[in-house]
């Protein structure tokens, strides 16, 4: 069996080095194309003086950090809390900061909670996300390895 990091190795309270990236107009167009959502404010003419990023576009950013502590997982999204503070201008840099806030076992699943904040790089937050997901299995080169459930 391959040696791999698992849910048991995760430390609650772990903080990750922030990641910065630019949300380009192409990224917004790709998101709209894939999901089918569209709004005039996403391409310009918003009350904010320019185009704004679809609110849920950065919500998948937890994956940037999850991949640092676990191999690819099979898991289900259980809960999500999204707090929007102000919209992200299109074609701006954002910084994502993340920490592990909880992990627990309930019934036949192991859960992991991560909180991640997206800001402008100067501490001015755009949004705060809290995701809770199940960690059910790991996708390894040798196959899918189920997480062990404690009796």
């Amino acid at each position: 069996m391959e040696a791999t990091r698992t849910w048991a190795d995760i430390e609650v309270g772990q903080e990750f080095p922030p990641i910065t990236y630019r949300v380009s107009p192409e990224a917004v167009r790709d998101f709209e194309s894939v999901t089918g959502v569209e709004h005039p404010w996403h391409s310009g003419g918003s009350p904010y003086g320019g185009a704004i990023v679809p609110a849920t576009l950065p919500c998948t950013d937890y994956g940037l950090f999850l991949s640092q502590i676990l191999p690819p997982i099979v898991g289900m999204h259980a809960n999500h809390r999204l707090r929007l503070i102000r919209p992200i201008p299109v074609d701006s840099d954002v910084r994502v900061s993340c920490r592990v806030t909880d992990k627990y076992q309930k019934r036949n699943h192991k859960y992991l909670t991560m909180e991640y904040t997206i800001d402008d790089g100067n501490g001015n937050a755009y949004m705060v996300n809290t995701i809770t997901m199940t960690v059910d299995a790991y996708i390894l080169a040798s196959g899918v390895q189920r997480e062990q459930i404690d009796e």
Binding site: D30, H39, V74, A78, L84, I85, V144
Partner: protein
């Protein structure tokens, strides 16, 4: 009580493209090898699922779309969403997202599949009008 609805069908191709968005945005790509339970039916089967499942954040885009359409700045500038996911959406399924006003600053969110089964539910809180 006002109600707004979006209905979408999410195909495997849609799910594959959604899974690739973050990598495209950041100029990174998933390491070569197996896919995920979102993109690879073999992985989903091996994990005990009956098929590939859509990422919940895929259809959360429609929740946000409704909130933006209905409430504009009150959503993007101080809005909050809390949502619980109770059932997976499989490739080729349809999702119906319903937003129902529940007071001046709150809305109930429900996401159901084509059989009327609840996929997710929650509440949105809107910023107060200045």
């Amino acid at each position: 009580m006002s109600e707004a609805v979006i209905r979408k069908t999410i195909s495997q191709e849609d799910m594959n493209r959604f899974a690739g968005l973050r990598g495209a945005r950041l100029g990174t790509a998933r390491p070569a090898g197996k896919g995920s339970h979102h993109t690879d039916p073999a992985v989903a089967k091996e994990a005990g699922l009956s098929g590939t499942v859509a990422q919940a954040l895929h259809y959360c885009a429609y929740v946000s779309q409704l909130l933006l359409d209905e409430h504009g700045r009150r959503w993007v500038e101080g809005g909050e969403l809390e949502i619980k996911f109770v059932r997976p959406l499989y490739a080729g399924d349809s999702v119906e997202v319903t937003l129902t006003e529940s007071g001046a600053d709150h809305a109930r969110v429900e996401c159901r599949n084509q059989d009327g089964q609840m996929l997710a539910f929650g509440n949105a809180t809107l910023a107060r009008d200045e």
